[in-house]
């Protein structure tokens, strides 16, 4: 936030650092309010949040980082914390100070990270959270002594009750005006000397490194094996550096693991501080969390609750979101039609662009919001509650077999409804490789957009039979389609985890936080962030793709096709006009013929008609008639009058069929014209579609899709479905000259069944239907999913890999399905 009124001295930045589940995000919101910016970094799947707050005349930027247990960085994600502390992140201001958020109920573990952070020597304040939780367990923290031990001020903060936030601000303001002092822990002398020596080596390399190294980084380099920092330093220092590093490690280690030396020194010092600054008055009994867990992680009850909760999550995305999605689609359909109606009649392209490209595209983005919001509503509640860790605890055994973790379960389950919330939901997975694997697997789960394809193909090609006496064959095929994705995902997961995403080990090590009541403000914030982030970041890509597809279906617009169909329409209208004129003439002559005049039935009918007119008039102005206010009598009279008139008309028609038939012809001609024009419209749309770039692409790829049992029309529909798979139904409807259809449409099913090859044999068979379904089950035909993957992994690499891998797999799967089914006589 740049403001002309403030000079540099009045603007500061602080970074919030702490373990996960300590209330850091709540504190961030309490400090900065609703206005925040999200910063992403290349190659990193985590993000930092930026907000601002004021204290007196100072504008304070606050940086919130993902929670972490340690500054040891083995992946780019874990390095974000160190880089943020050192001000090395783009888009994020260099911090002038640190707010260390510590959970009073588990201070020892919190202080492990705390000591690492305080070694950086930035001015620091401790925000002590969860004091009430600690007290309820008989843990009393003496903030004055803790402050003395750490050498920085300690402020108790209770965000839900709004206590301590102002004091924290004023304390930050105070410490920022004094230089910080780096904490020094009593590491063994050899260890300290090795860090100093390595620090010296790093400083000599600083020109090649491109940044000024710090002593804490030297310590990380000494202790941590591998990781991004080591890679960078090795690039600058080469083999010689590795030799030196090995020497320092050998000297510092003293025969023991360096990680153990570090942990011993830190936890030793922490234990000493805690003896002074903490009193545990009551022996630890069974806490509320323990008692709740006895049920929620119980073999029977826990599994039952789990199934119910997961059922609820799935139901919400699959079913509850649907009316909202339909409403959004309906609203945008109406809006598109209305806006297009305002545009000039002859600007067909502009109308189509606005209606189908832009407004349709925006609707296509927003339609996903209900599912995303429902999933994140549950995730936010379950995460706040602490249940996410329990769900992961219950499911880990099963997911671990596929190289995933228990936390992968909810994202993958959600993906059966829609991969978009599923991919976004992977942020609950802490480990980077597990998260990337889960992101990659999400689109394999059969989402609800594949259902129309299955419904259409099954309805058209799978006979309505029962097998084994009670199982419907159609239902069985549908069930099998859901398994196709899962069965393809399992080997994919194993290959990914053993190959590309192999890390030496992926520690599971999950904290089981104590249960807490969810806070509505927290949940509202998560929904706002996730929804906004989807619309802003993924939405633009989806909109762009929707306009591209529109263009590929529109261009090159052939005037010949338009003109030819316009001529057909003219001809139809002219034919209609001629029919009408002839019928009208016949009608006029028939009615005035002598035969009619002589017939008393005509006079009778006319009398009945006048009678009815009178009664109807009486009904209109009822005061002036014999009926007065007698509603029943009036209605009775009207009914009698209508019946009399009808019967005399029928009599008339019986006697003079010939004279009245021209009137019937006129009516029939009206309907004929209407149907004829609609058919021409559909033919024109089909002709334009075939002539469009997409249609031509369909013809071009026909040799490639023939082995799948497809022709150019299915090929084209499949290409058109790459941005959004459900598009296939509408595209097939257009190309088969059926206009707007849905997957239940018998016309479309019939058209598919009746399509003939050049030799007159059926073009599509059961084998074709199965091959199309397998293709759609395995293919990542969803621009929105790819856009969200890009957003969540912060790189195009993953969506690109997913797209190519799944397309290849889909092609091979469909090929195999067709060839096998065809050979078996399908």
């Amino acid at each position: 936030m740049t403001s002309a009124r403030h000079n540099r001295a009045d603007r500061h930045a602080v970074v919030l650092v702490g373990n996960p589940n300590v209330g850091k995000s709540s504190l961030f919101s309490a400090l900065t309010g609703a206005r925040q910016k999200i910063a992403n970094f290349p190659g990193v799947t985590v993000e930092a949040k930026l907000g601002t707050t004021r204290f007196e005349n100072t504008e304070l930027s606050v940086i919130d980082l993902p929670g972490t247990y340690s500054l040891a960085a083995r992946s780019p994600d874990e390095r974000v914390a160190i880089d943020a502390l050192l001000g090395r992140l783009e888009e994020v201001p260099a911090p002038d100070g640190v707010v260390l958020v510590l959970d009073a109920s588990s201070l020892d573990r919190n202080l492990y990270l705390g000591t690492q952070v305080l070694e950086f020597g930035l001015p620091a304040v401790v925000a002590l959270t969860m004091v009430d939780v600690a007290l309820s367990r008989g843990i009393r923290v003496d903030t004055a002594r803790l402050s003395q031990a750490l050498g920085v001020p300690v402020v108790e903060v209770n965000v839900p009750q709004g206590r301590g936030v102002e004091e924290l601000k004023s304390t930050i303001h105070r410490v920022l005006h004094h230089p910080g002092k780096a904490l020094e822990l009593p590491f063994p002398a050899e260890f300290r000397q090795a860090v100093d020596g390595l620090y010296g080596v790093l400083c000599d390399l600083s020109v090649d490194l491109g940044f000024k190294p710090t002593r804490p980084e030297a310590m990380r380099l000494l202790v941590d094996l591998g990781g991004p920092l080591h890679d960078e330093v090795r690039q600058a220092g080469g083999q010689a550096f590795d030799t030196k590093l090995a020497e320092f490690r050998a000297r510092a280690a003293d025969g023991r693991g360096l990680a153990l030396v570090e942990a011993n020194a830190r936890y030793g010092q922490i234990a000493a501080w805690m003896r002074e600054a903490r009193q545990v008055s009551a022996p630890e009994g069974r806490t509320l969390t323990d008692r709740v867990d006895a049920v929620l992680t119980h073999k029977v009850w826990g599994s039952l609750v789990f199934v119910v909760v997961m059922g609820l999550v799935f139901q919400s995305i699959y079913a509850w979101a649907e009316p909202l999605m339909n409403a959004i689609e309906g609203a945008f359909g109406w809006l598109g039609g209305t806006v297009a109606g305002w545009l000039p009649e002859d600007a067909a392209m502009l109308r189509s662009l606005v209606e189908d490209g832009v407004i349709g595209g925006v609707g296509g983005v927003l339609v996903f919001l209900p599912q995303i919001l429902f999933l994140f509503l549950f995730i936010a509640i379950l995460e706040d509650l602490g249940y996410m860790s329990r769900a992961a605890f219950l499911m880990d055994r099963i997911m671990a077999r596929f190289g995933l973790s228990g936390r992968s379960f909810i994202p993958l389950l959600s993906s059966f409804a829609c991969a978009i919330p599923g991919v976004m939901g992977t942020r609950v997975i802490e480990d980077r490789n597990t998260r990337l694997t889960t992101v990659f697997l999400a689109p394999f789960m059969s989402c609800s957009a594949r259902l129309p394809v299955y419904t259409l193909m099954i309805g058209a090609f799978v006979p309505k039979q029962t097998v084994l006496g009670f199982l419907g064959l159609q239902g069985l095929v549908l069930f099998a389609m859901y398994w196709v994705g899962v069965l393809a995902a399992i080997p994919t997961a194993l290959v990914l985890k053993k190959g590309i995403l192999r890390s030496r080990v992926t520690p599971f090590l999950m904290e089981m936080p104590s249960y807490k009541l969810p806070r509505p403000r927290n949940i509202a914030r998560v929904l706002y962030e996730r929804g906004g982030s989807f619309v802003k970041r993924a939405g633009t890509i989806i909109l762009a793709v929707s306009i591209i597809v529109w263009a590929a279906l529109w261009f090159p617009r052939s005037d010949d096709i338009t003109r030819a169909h316009e001529q057909r329409r003219e001809a139809a209208r002219a034919g209609h006009a001629a029919t009408l004129a002839a019928a009208a003439e016949a009608w006029r002559q028939g009615m005035t013929g002598p035969e009619l005049e002589a017939d008393p039935a005509v006079a009778a009918a006319l009398a009945d008609m006048r009678e009815l007119e009178a009664t109807d008039k009486a009904a209109r102005d009822r005061d002036e008639t014999e009926f007065g206010h007698d509603e029943t009598a009036l209605a009775e009279a009207q009914r009698a009058g209508r019946a009399a008139y009808e019967s005399s008309l029928l009599e008339l028609r019986r006697r003079h069929r010939g004279a009245l038939s021209p009137a019937m012809q006129m009516l029939a001609a009206e309907q004929e014209l209407e149907e004829g024009l609609a058919a021409i419209d559909n033919d024109e749309a089909a002709a334009h579609a075939e002539n469009s770039w997409l249609g031509r692409a369909g013809h071009v790829i026909e040799p490639a899709v023939r082995p799948l049992g497809w022709d150019w029309r299915i090929g084209m529909a499949a290409i058109a479905s790459f941005p959004a798979r459900e598009v296939i139904v509408g595209t097939l409807g257009t190309i088969f000259s059926l206009g707007d259809v849905d997957e239940q449409d018998e016309g479309l099913r019939g058209a598919l069944r009746n399509a003939r090859d050049r030799d007159g044999s059926p073009l599509f068979t059961l084998a074709t239907g199965l091959s199309v379904m397998v293709f759609f089950a395995l293919c990542c035909q969803c621009a929105a999913t790819l856009a969200v993957m890009r957003r969540e992994t912060n790189s195009w690499k993953w969506p690109a890999a997913s797209f190519f891998y799944m397309t290849t797999l889909a092609y091979l799967g469909a090929l195999m399905t067709y060839q096998v089914a065809h050979a078996l006589g399908g």
Binding site: S389, D396, R397, V505, F508, L509, M510, P513
Partner: protein, 76 residues
């Protein structure tokens, strides 16, 4: 063979004597406060037999069985 965390019975406490295994895993376990000299208690085992939940330093942590096997303990 020394006892490991994986062999504890639910409710049973022990004192950590050593952390072994892959260096990265070792470091993670140590960072979480599970280091020689620390008291640790097995709270419960997941219904499918894995992972296991432990209480250490005033908080609860779950480890996979394979991870628990890396932590050597002595029982009182």
């Amino acid at each position: 063979m020394a006892a490991t965390l994986a062999q504890l019975k639910p409710g049973q406490s022990a004192r950590v004597t050593d952390v072994r295994g892959d260096p990265v895993l070792q470091q993670r376990i140590l960072e979480m406060g599970i280091l020689p000299g620390t008291d640790i208690r097995l709270v419960r085992v997941a219904p499918l037999g894995d992972p296991m939940e432990f209480a250490v330093l005033g908080y609860n942590i779950s480890l996979r069985k394979s991870e628990a096997e890396c932590v050597c303990v002595e029982t009182a």
